[in-house]
Symmetry: C2
Amino acid sequence: MDIQVERNVMAANNRAAEKLQKSLAGRGVFVINIMSSPGAGKTTLLEATARALKDELRLAVIEGDIQTSQDADRIAAQGVQAVQINTQGGCHLDAAMVGQALDLLDLDDLDLLIIENVGNLVCPAEFDLGEEAKVVLLSTPEGEDKPSKYPLMFRLSKALVINKVDLLPYLPFSMERVRKDVLDIQPELEIIELSAMTGQGLDGWLNWLRQGVARARKAAGEPDQG
Amino acid sequence: MDIQVERNVMAANNRAAEKLQKSLAGRGVFVINIMSSPGAGKTTLLEATARALKDELRLAVIEGDIQTSQDADRIAAQGVQAVQINTQGGCHLDAAMVGQALDLLDLDDLDLLIIENVGNLVCPAEFDLGEEAKVVLLSTPEGEDKPSKYPLMFRLSKALVINKVDLLPYLPFSMERVRKDVLDIQPELEIIELSAMTGQGLDGWLNWLRQGVARARKAAGEPDQG
């Protein structure tokens, strides 16, 4: 009975996500869904991303949190549109919530839409949000064993950002082991090492975003502005 | 409809947890449920705890993970009984899973039972496991904002372990702000600062466990061995 119910919830979300994806397709917007543990540095990465790209791309961020608007406030302070979703206890975003947030944005005036999911390595992976690409962020203090313990999120993602590389001198963390483990799970995964706090390696991430925006524009038949 | 189902799942868990608590009460075992984000250091803390206490107390650990037995293997390597529960995708332990794991342990031969929940700051807080005390662990690299963003887990816990204090010199983390925020949420919270990796501050944690064991013995009418 529980399993039946869970299937119904998933099926309803899949339908809503497909509808979102159709309404987003052809508009030339690159939409990504960023997921990680709490405190891995998603919002700090998005602050740095907003600072770096806001004069180059039309960018908006949807922030998912259980409660508070702290994260949307941080993004808005960078001069970028931010919509906060509060899940009121829910451990992940779903496509219906994102659909409501999209009503507050002008999609024809956007190049890049970043959805920051609730901090959680488990549940968010199971709920598509109509995105073009899932991105998983892993921070070095979390340890090397996360890909093997939480494989689903790594399997479904197109890019892995390894954040807080500035802490590597103080931690037992083998980049080599993590690279091997994640590529065993998902051989196509793009791996980007950076420190959102210091800015080290940020260009690799910005270029990955620029490439996604260029692909979305091409798919929509727009001229490449890059 | 979804809400109704969720209530049924919670009610069923509450009944199972009460049954567990009754079967554990009076046996003189101190049972705790440790919760945190993935990678905050629960297993590293339990390895250090096992090394420090295994000749002093009769100790067992129940390890909750989505998949793999890596954590139970790490605890067993310290010479302490460890039972692994794999939730097969589930984002938290529930009382029924813990009940099955208890069947593998001799409760009359135990002083301290530590249940390590799945790494997740959201869902585990909602599911009682028959424990005497919930413990939340926060690691300094996760940032100061976690109590205000994930208040339920902090509100329900009796102790907060702040781990990875050895990284404080390299992080923007105000211990003062965290102490204020968590005490606003839960004024009775015992706060213990430590580094499970270096051993700094570990004694405060060990003494908190010893006090819990002494209380459980007293409640069971056993002589205090401490």
